[in-house]
Symmetry: C2
Subunit: 316 residues, 2 copies
């Protein structure tokens, strides 16, 4: 059935002008066959912005736009067509009646990135395939070389190279810039539901703490960190329901992270808020990776999230 779309558009938000001087000039041929030209490294540049693309429905059934925030070393492509070619969560949640916004954080994708070390203080990190394989729990230790995953694994490993084409360089020094852009993004969009994954988990939690009037709910897939409840004003989150979704084959690295998450969620509940966890293996759903939105059962997991959102009164 056709999706009735009112508007497709995009914008950049956040950041500002940075001026560089004292850099060398370079001679470059920018178009083959044309003469070389002399370019200055100096000048004014925009830096610190992020990118967001939206699809607004003619008649949304959700009360608020759904903002999808990708994880580390990734872009908004995370939420689009899956590496196996099947529809991803952007499509699923559009069909479920949400206006869907898919963004690229500062330094990623269409957000662009800035000169280092002049603007970003450090060098980028390029995630190798073996690092993805282990970090995202696509297979047990030592299985990258043979490309054999967990026997019950749901990530479509025959499309692992296609997945790897989505991976982009990232920095480890831009958290403050990234948070500032996400905060400006929430201010621009207004009342919204924020859905995060992995690295963006922290940015989403912080965005809710800074704008609990605008962030009406937080859904997070395996966030890679959580605020310290001793310093976070969790009382402000009493009207901001939180949901975390956890996959299978949790190893010691992720166990530590999830312990922090559970600690944070407990503090929200103690303050009178809603902070639920969908622990997929505990529900008998085995084999999800760190990317449940790309796993073979992504529709099933999406439906669990949608049910939770409906129960929180987020649908019309």
């Amino acid at each position: 059935m056709a999706i009735q779309v009112r508007e497709i558009g995009s914008f950049h938000i956040g950041g500002g002008q940075v001026t560089l001087s004292g850099l060398p000039r370079r001679s470059l041929v920018l178009t083959r066959g044309m003469p070389a030209r002399d370019f200055s490294g100096d000048g004014d540049f925009e830096s610190g912005q992020m990118y967001a693309q939206y699809v607004r429905l003619e008649v949304p059934r959700a009360k608020y736009p759904l903002l999808m925030w990708h994880g580390g070393g990734m872009t908004g492509a995370t939420w689009e067509t899956k590496p196996d070619g099947a529809p991803g969560w952007q499509s699923w949640f559009l069909n479920a009646g949400h206006d869907v916004f898919v963004s690229d954080a500062v330094e990623r994708g269409r957000a662009g990135w800035s000169r280092f070390p002049e603007i970003y203080p450090g060098e980028p990190h390029f995630r190798s395939k073996i690092e993805s394989w282990g970090l995202f729990r696509f297979g047990p230790p030592g299985s990258y070389e043979t490309r054999t995953g967990h026997p019950d694994g749901l990530f479509p490993l025959e499309h692992f190279d296609q997945f790897s084409k989505q991976v982009v360089p990232r920095w480890a020094c831009n958290d403050a810039l990234t948070q500032a852009a996400y905060d400006a993004y929430v201010q621009k969009v207004g009342p919204c539901v924020v859905m995060t994954h992995s690295q963006s988990g922290q940015f989403g939690f912080n965005a809710a703490l800074r704008a609990p009037d605008l962030v009406r709910a937080v859904v997070t897939l395996e966030p890679s960190g959580a605020p310290d409840p001793r310093t976070a004003d969790v009382v402000a989150l009493r009207s901001v329901p939180h949901l975390a979704v956890l996959g299978d084959h949790i190893d010691s690295f992720w166990q530590d992270i999830i312990a922090r998450l559970r600690h944070y969620f407990e503090a929200i509940r103690t303050a009178g808020g809603v902070a639920d966890v969908i622990d997929l293996p505990a529900l008998g759903i085995r084999g999800n990776s760190h990317f449940p939105m790309m796993d073979r059962n992504s529709d099933q997991v999406a439906a669990l999230v949608q049910d939770w959102m409906a129960r929180q009164g987020l649908m019309r």
Copy 2:
């Protein structure tokens, strides 16, 4: 009126695995509050891929999908919402009945980019605001500092900083990789119309020469180069109509480029093909910049292109 959308999706295409070794290890904190971890610079990486996003209509009125290719230092955002917030050509041509594909070339946007100098042989170029201002003919020489444009200029200069947020780093050494990915993209999509801008002009001309059975027409906005007709098989283009659109305030830099374009187009016509030029000032439409799809009269220019496409039999 709502756009009836059959499918929104995306994919990466082209490139392949590159393996690096001998790089140093680094210790990084990837999520604030978590311990530092030790990362290898070595490993297998995907490189050379590009990214494409598509919006397919329930009932397209165009015979073929329209592939929009951005220029140098830009991403697919070129074609989306304009810097002034008004709808861009992605929306315009969707409303005109085309399935629209918007892509990010190799090294740009969601395509990702690769380590240099290990994979890309050179350093990236960061385009400054003053360079954009002059190259894109937003104002006469010396006018960047005062931000005063041409008296009749149609680029919304009050949104020049917003435009500058779209600018991303580029390399000057990746033409072969980029062309290979575009060629693979055309093979994947099948029969299509290619719309190019500036740097992508050359890639589009070459794509048509390599796949004249699939590229059913080429529309190019101020291409920054054109093939040499002495070596290009223009006879193969007899069934591939070409259209170029030229803006105003052409300076000597662009004059040289346009002379090459006209030479190439003349060869196509001599071979029996269609190669038309919409020279906007010659039609009495004054003040367009290098970015007619972002100028205030972008709808007017789009309508001229659409009329040409209809006359070429590209609509149902």
